[in-house]
Subunit: 331 residues, 2 copies
């Protein structure tokens, strides 16, 4: 039977492609039952999150972003200080899938769950007259009472972010218009890096413990740094003072900026970074930097939470720099 064969029967699709992803967890019962069971360690809280990816809305037609679907949910868990453990998958398909399609989809999940240390415990597979849609519900755990919310930043706290900002937005732009990279003199390696940041984001697992141990507030950066920082400030009842020059950029992003293909203020609005935005006390910053460097998580301080309302972005001379581009909103 060839790779283009259309597969018949929900049960056989589950048995062949999804049951192996349960890693033998008895709570998943080989996916032959309708429910999964979770037995929990004492003094542990569960953290649950869910996100859908819709073809043509969240990913380019023809892509099979199963790795990314798990990654974006793991990103939410990590930003709360939680360790990913298990996930459920709802799959909506416009037609019976081919073997080649299911193989790629399962391979992406297998790689992602190995990368993030979690496994499949359940889900649902449906036909839809609409687009291919992947919904993941991810479950993590953390010591009871240690969750870190976005609502608890305080005036005076340092604002920091992991990794670099804007790579995924540039990666998407390069997917849509590959020649723009060559016009900017971007090497093939840098272009591949930016595209991989869009297609296959890898949230920083080691950041979960840093968040729990140091952060006063935290969230992942998924809809653009500018928009997500404004949300954190608003949810915390603070303002924020940020120097745009401090926003960390990758070498590839720097080249695209310096060649005039994108502005720094576009990058902070571009979304899908899947880095952690967090705040912490100024007096804990030295200890934090020392621990972060041993864990290999790159971190950059961007500015300070304030008593004022709203987020003030500053240029390198300290002048106010009103933003002209927003972040992602569905409605």
């Amino acid at each position: 039977m060839g790779n283009s064969e259309r597969l018949e029967g929900e049960a056989s699709i589950i048995a062949e492609f999804f049951a192996p992803l349960t890693d033998g967890d008895p709570g998943a019962a080989g996916l032959v039952d309708d429910c999964a069971v979770l037995t929990l360690a004492p003094a542990t809280d569960l953290v649950v999150t869910t996100d859908s990816l819709v073809e043509g809305v969240h990913f380019l037609p023809g892509d099979i972003p199963s790795f990314k679907a798990l990654a974006v949910n793991v990103s939410d868990l990590i930003a709360k200080g939680a360790t990913p453990e298990r996930y459920l998958l709802n799959l909506a398909l416009p037609e019976p899938p081919t073997r080649a399609f299911m193989t790629r989809l399962a391979e992406g999940l297998a790689e992602a769950q190995q990368t993030f240390g979690c496994h499949l415990i359940g889900g649902d597979t449906d036909r839809t007259p609409g687009p291919f849609t992947l919904t993941i519900t991810a479950i993590g755990s953390l010591p009871a009472g240690s969750v870190v919310r976005r609502t608890t930043a305080r005036p005076g706290d340092i604002i920091a972010v992991t990794g670099t900002i804007g790579d995924a937005g540039l990666g998407l732009a390069l997917r849509k218009d590959p020649k723009s990279g060559r016009q900017a003199g971007l090497s093939a390696d840098y272009a591949a890096f930016l595209i991989s940041r869009f297609e296959k984001p890898v949230p920083r697992l080691a950041a979960a413990a840093l968040v729990r141990d140091f952060a006063t507030a935290a969230m992942d950066v998924s809809d653009g740094l500018a928009k997500d920082l404004a949300r954190m400030a608003s949810a915390s009842g603070t303002g924020a003072n940020i120097q745009i020059e401090k926003v960390p950029l990758s070498d590839g992003a720097r080249i695209m900026c310096s060649q005039g293909f994108v502005r720094r203020e576009d990058l902070i609005a571009s979304g899908e970074d899947y880095e952690v935005l967090f705040t912490l006390s100024t007096d804990r910053w030295p200890a934090f930097q020392s621990v972060a460097s041993t864990t290999g998580v790159p971190v950059t301080a961007l500015g300070t939470m304030t008593q004022d309302d709203g987020v003030s972005w500053r240029d390198s001379y300290g002048g106010a720099m009103p933003l002209t581009t927003g972040g992602w909103d569905h409605f």
Copy 2:
């Protein structure tokens, strides 16, 4: 602002329509964070299930089946012996919703969660170029180690089912062709009952404890009794011997059968009953019946699990009755 106004902004939709459904659970944090936190009672296992309803596939165009979306997931929990506690909602909408649409959707959820004793803790709202889709992930709990699987029925066990079978299938038929009910001499009350079994199924909460205390195996009846029984027998490595005359029918379903509008064998294939199919030891049947009658859960014995392979449906003379209609399968 009128009811036909299109609502703008995911955050304001969440704050107005969904945050009140969290019932003040601090773990839901008013839905302003990306994750929910669950703190668990000791010696408790969690049970998790997820199901999507897609417009035009699982429900009629124009319907807003938010009550049903929660009910079908609660049905899975109850059939495992679990008590519903919390749920997440993924909503995919083809256009910005009107206030009237969101109001009806939230009212359906509010009524369902009050009926089932659970509340919203999180979710995701997305635009889609496809149909309106509701995905619920429901979380229940039960005493540690007490989950009841579909895989553990034994030869000799009695096969039983709660409630009546085939009503929802008839309700769907009446929605599509209202005059068929009048032609069969069905009263308006019976027609309304059958339609409500399709539109607003109410899984029997009291069955959860019965399942835990008595059942050797259990699952909900969602894709047709015939198909679901075959699945249970196959998963348990048993066969089954069933008398079709014993399948419990409501008065409305009896009228539709007696007038020749449907056959009993169509009803056992018609799906969406959301009753509990379960097995138990013959020696526990008297004690079970006595407890079931005090809890008000109607139960009917249908037949017996066997050592053979496959399910044998028998007519009232004991003759073999091969089924000609299957149950629901997406692929």
